[in-house]
């Protein structure tokens, strides 16, 4: 993961590294079974959410405890437009879902960026719970705790060229959808990389490191935070959009606040001080959670212990710790 030290690494090495990883990800489904492919798809989808989340935490220095709102908005918008408007095209779902998330993120963000630190966290939490309670209570619209089913067979990819009717369709769906998600993931990552390394991204980091100085340089702090909030929300929304067809069902659980905590968890697991941290963290968290659930009834206990140990001993996360170990090793071998 060359991106971890992006500031000092030449651009061609980052491109090379990313290309190699992408090729590996493209070959992987041919080597592993369908179940592993599904797991990896979930991991890539969550990676987009964590990437978006980290634009706020890692780059702007704002800890949101309400990102379930944008994930859920994306998911529910897709559910509504496929169920009520009979939309079949996944691309239309993505556009519609992102529009829906943008509206919510713009409103919530406008309110939330008036505060920082703990008040920002509580405000995002409170607003996300407004959406949760609505999804929970208006059961004749949202299905309540039953949620809304979104059968993959109703959807078609790439403007209707790929659909999933007839025999063996589930198997076809899994592999087609993996590559679909992989492409969206790659594009999202590139866009986020450009944003993070653009003058705008640098301005966000300036705000994170010293708000007063950033204001003196002429950065309009609140507006930059608001824009960062909306971008962050859209990425997390996109993740929710992609998640729905794979999961086949959307329930209020993805709007409930512990889900926001999971997004924070995966980002910290990977390391929020680096660009690639959230990606690694999301994929790792997905495996961790899946195998914890499969192996013990008390998987929450296991995950909780991992989180506490992480914060206590390895606050730099997987990527940060690996980078530090690699640097130490490099010095040692010289």
């Amino acid at each position: 993961m060359a991106m971890a030290t992006a500031t000092g690494t030449p651009i061609w090495r980052i491109t090379m590294g990313a290309a190699i990883i992408l090729v590996i990800l493209a070959i992987l489904p041919q080597l592993v079974d369908a179940y592993q492919t599904v797991l990896l798809t979930y991991g890539l989808i969550m990676a987009i959410a964590a990437l978006g989340f980290n634009l706020l935490l890692g780059y702007t220095g704002l800890l949101s405890f309400g990102h379930s709102a944008y994930f859920g908005t994306g998911a529910y918008t897709v559910a509504f437009i496929t169920r009520d408007f009979g939309v079949h095209s996944m691309e239309l779902c993505i556009v519609g879902g992102m529009l829906g998330t943008l509206i919510i993120a713009a409103i919530f963000g406008f309110v939330c960026v008036r505060h920082t630190r703990i008040f920002f966290g509580i405000l995002t939490l409170a607003l996300s719970q407004v959406l949760w309670s609505l999804a929970f209570k208006f059961f004749w619209v949202t299905g309540g705790t039953d949620g809304i089913r979104i059968p993959y067979a109703n959807l078609s990819l790439v403007g209707g060229l790929v659909d999933f009717k007839g025999a063996g369709s589930f198997h076809r769906f899994i592999y087609a959808y993996y590559y679909y998600v992989l492409v969206v993931f790659a594009v999202s990552t590139i866009i986020m990389w450009v944003i993070a390394h653009s003058p705008f991204g640098k301005a966000l980091q300036a705000i994170r490191d010293n708000e007063t100085r950033a204001r003196f340089v002429g950065i309009s702090v609140r507006r930059y935070r608001w824009i960062a909030f909306m971008i962050s929300g859209i990425f997390t929304g996109l993740s929710g959009i992609l998640w729905v067809p794979l999961n086949g069902l959307t329930t209020p659980d993805i709007l409930y606040w512990p889900f926001s905590g999971e997004i924070v968890f995966m980002t910290v697991l990977g390391g929020f001080r680096s660009f690639s941290g959230p990606i690694v963290g999301a994929i790792a968290f997905n495996y961790l959670k899946t195998y914890a659930i499969a192996s013990t009834e008390y998987w929450q206990l296991l995950l909780g212990v991992v989180l506490v140990v992480l914060v206590m001993a390895l606050p730099a996360g997987i990527v940060g710790t690996t980078a530090r170990l690699a640097a130490k090793l490099g010095r040692w071998t010289k």
Binding site: K137, V264, F265, L303
Partner: protein, 296 residues
């Protein structure tokens, strides 16, 4: 009219429980600036421990009869157990983090929440626990043409007692002075010879005790179920946000506002009852981020 009186009594019952939880949350934030996401789960732990103790004591008592007073005396044991857990948590998990930013406090307490949720499942299983015998034995009193459980009035009395007791404790005792001094300026307090680490352990344990007491008094009226704490935490947040993080009066007023709005909501606008509460919290945060009674 009778319905109206009963709804007001319900609101006070609910406010008493919410106050116990929110006061602990607020106290912990006020003294050590930690937003404890596991606070709701500590409340649930109190409920489970109390229900389990009362249940097994009734099971082992002679002729399965413990007497009402005996059972009521057993209830606070849950709160004491939670306070002990708190006294263990603070030095091990929280103390290393005071120098680090708030993000880490939220993360560690979130991890703690996950751990405690499963510990409860591990210790008490998946079946809901209740201490309903207490409520049954207390009987009910007539209100107009209807009857009302006497136990609810007892809980209201406990809430009032806790409010007065906590106020007297913080504003009228030497320990209260030390607590307030530490909360205002930790380094100055340490320079004056106050053992800040010990004050922190005590403050955290008291906060946990309040949460546990909330769980203990609620469990005869409603059973302890899994996920109880996760649900109540956000309501406690709404309370302290409205009243002001770190303020005792705020927790009291906030608890009253939330419970009256909620009772009215369930009666008149059940669909958006919760949404209204969260929106009130968001509105208060916007207009007065320090809440109605908080200080900057």
């Amino acid at each position: 009219m009778t319905i109206f009186v009963i709804q007001i009594l319900n609101s006070f019952f609910y406010a008493a429980v919410l106050f116990l939880i929110a006061a602990g949350l607020s106290l912990i934030y006020g003294v050590m600036r930690i937003v404890n996401l596991a606070h709701g789960t500590l409340y649930a732990l109190g409920a489970y421990v109390s229900a389990w103790i009362v249940g097994s004591a009734v099971g082992h008592a002679v002729e399965r009869n413990l007497g009402l007073a005996g059972m009521l005396l057993l209830l606070p044991l849950g709160a004491i157990a939670v306070a002990a857990v708190g006294a263990l948590i603070e030095p091990t998990l929280l103390r290393p983090l005071y120098r680090r930013s708030e993000e880490y406090h939220l993360l560690v307490t979130f991890g703690l929440l996950m751990i405690l949720e499963d510990v409860i499942k591990l210790l008490f299983g998946r079946t809901p626990l209740s201490a309903g015998t207490i409520m049954d034995q207390m009987g009910s009193i007539p209100v107009g043409r209807l009857i009302y459980p006497a136990y609810n009035l007892f809980v209201i009395a406990v809430g009032v007692g806790a409010a007065i007791g906590l106020w007297a404790f913080i504003y009228r005792t030497k320990f209260g002075v030390i607590l307030r001094a530490t909360s205002q300026d930790r380094r100055m307090a340490a320079a004056l010879g106050i053992n800040v680490s010990r004050v922190y352990v005590q403050a955290f344990a008291i906060g946990c005790f309040m949460a546990g007491l909330g769980g203990a008094v609620v469990v005869p009226a409603q059973a302890a179920v899994l996920g109880l704490g996760v649900e109540v935490l956000i309501l406690a947040f709404v309370v302290v946000v409205i009243g002001g993080l770190g303020s005792l009066q705020g927790a009291l007023v906030g608890a009253l506002i939330v419970s009256f709005v909620r009772t009215a909501g369930i009666q008149f606008f059940p669909e958006i009852e919760l949404a209204v509460l969260y929106l009130i919290a968001a509105a208060v945060l916007l207009v007065r981020p320090t809440g109605l009674f908080g200080r900057a």
